[in-house]
Symmetry: C2
Subunit: 349 residues, 2 copies
Amino acid sequence: MTTREPDAGHAGASRGGAAAPRVRLVDVAREAGLSKTTVSAALNGTGRLSPAVREKAVETARRMGYRPNATARQLRAGRARLIGYVVGEFAGEPWTYLDSPYFAQLTGATSAAALRHGYALVMLPAGTLQREWADLPLEAVIVADPVEDDPLVEDFLAARIPVFSDASVAGREGAHWVDLDTDAAVRECLEHLRAGGARRTALVLPDSTTRFHRQMLAAYRAWCAAHGAEELVTLVPEPGNGPVVRAVERALTAEPRPDGLFVVAEASPPLVMDAARRLGLAAPRDVRVVCVSEDESAAHADPPVSTLSLRPVEVAEKGMALLVAALEGGSSTPPGVLLTARLEVRASS
Amino acid sequence: MTTREPDAGHAGASRGGAAAPRVRLVDVAREAGLSKTTVSAALNGTGRLSPAVREKAVETARRMGYRPNATARQLRAGRARLIGYVVGEFAGEPWTYLDSPYFAQLTGATSAAALRHGYALVMLPAGTLQREWADLPLEAVIVADPVEDDPLVEDFLAARIPVFSDASVAGREGAHWVDLDTDAAVRECLEHLRAGGARRTALVLPDSTTRFHRQMLAAYRAWCAAHGAEELVTLVPEPGNGPVVRAVERALTAEPRPDGLFVVAEASPPLVMDAARRLGLAAPRDVRVVCVSEDESAAHADPPVSTLSLRPVEVAEKGMALLVAALEGGSSTPPGVLLTARLEVRASS
DNA sequence: GTGAAAGCGCTAACAG
DNA sequence: CTGTTAGCGCTTTCAC
């Protein structure tokens, strides 16, 4: 069988839709009157070649528009420098998670960090099936916010693909994690509100089984118990600004009325302040407010809203450093990293 | 040289950090007492095999935890089903673009659509260099919102990688596009505002050279000219809620005051209404407002804000359909597709 | 019905 | 200093 028969046409200008056969290393070598090895070495700056030969190889390659076949290199190298990226939380709605500024920033920062380390990130929509990623040469996978006993995590681990996620995967073989110190975060917020005078701080929390939300609730309860404060929890039945706003209204119309509000549910901060205003409450005079949010609009609301940042950019960068260390540095890497959230105090509290 | 010498250890349980050598097709074949061919056929359901043999092959593969090497398959297949995805607009800030709900939805919907068609999307942060994607076996690349004469687009085209983008690339060899009918969109908004009674509608627009923004401005001017209306344009010097809010304030304090406001700059709709309220203006009584936005918070603002949706999900899906057709269907695909924006009328107008 | 062998495009030993 | 050769792991004609 001659080498290139199956392909579209010969080297000449293909007129129709048939793509011109891509020029290979061997084509360049033949044209330059050199061997594959020499050309390869010249292009990769690898071997010891005479400047004249190297120049000739490089020039010929350039002239012929040669581009190395990435797949062949990957096969040769035994690795593809490809990392999968999934967000587990909203498995029902395959793409909506990016609407959340937290995940938007996490995703963007992760892909940037990956590229800086020489890896590319492939986006796997939540709910992706095994057979959809099985054809990808993934070296590792990042699962942001997995649900409890996430089947995705199980599948990747079973396939011996290292998983990078939050602390819910801690202790499993091949699993690494980056997580937030939620206890410290909740404590800082509640004590900040208390220092401002709040004695009854209500919590607005999604009715979800995400690890993060469960931990925030537990930390809130622990803090209340430790300080003899009454637990005031309003659950948000589903994601979205509407449900959160209604929950805020419910929380603020309880009797006796809370004088502190800690909104952990993802919502537009200006809308939270709108809700308070509609109830005739001014912040921070009547109620001191802190929202968990990465939404930049918080700083421009009226009044500007204090936020607790979950630091997606730092999470992404620490996570990628951990991933690269684990993938390349051998086995002596720590299994996980704990980060601290950051409270941005603004006028609302 | 024996085949597997370079690898970590032998088949036995590797104790240290050394990864267990992955099981290959040939290992399964040997274990099952069959040939590579037979096992391959069995696993792919390809050849004509006796049920017994097929069963044996499949069972052995399962037992040994065999997973095909994706890279080898890709090399064999001659394609990797990988598509690059870049957002060109904010080349200065490598990740912030996802903060915008439009791009967030576009990105998510694109990756979902890609996977549905059997392709995976690799995220290339804005500002990615040639040498960073050259090692990826990309079959095509999607460039959302390229800047004028985007070097990224030039590089991809020069590398003979098909580019899918907006209409600014129209007419170039290997370039395909999906775009919005901005004329129709602007007309619909301005006529809607006018029908509500607005006689002086101001435009708030980013001071950017993005094709979209230039077209919106041109369409606004054309409409004003055609209707004998005065042009009232306020430019936003840089992205972000703060600058947009200040521009809105400037626009609304002009003399004589506008009675219509068309905000094309990306901002949190509740903040726009806050700005109007601070100036003592009620919508729609004093000023009728339409914002270009995909932000769900618009529907919950006080009053709810009318929005012009650029339909990122539809753009993503049409674009992916076009891409797949061009990549697989041959050459008879249209070069581009034009979509219509959607005006969501709410109380603010 | 089953298996041997070629080869996808590249890089890295090893001769010359 | 350069070229020949052996594979990376898989699929697929083509003989048997």
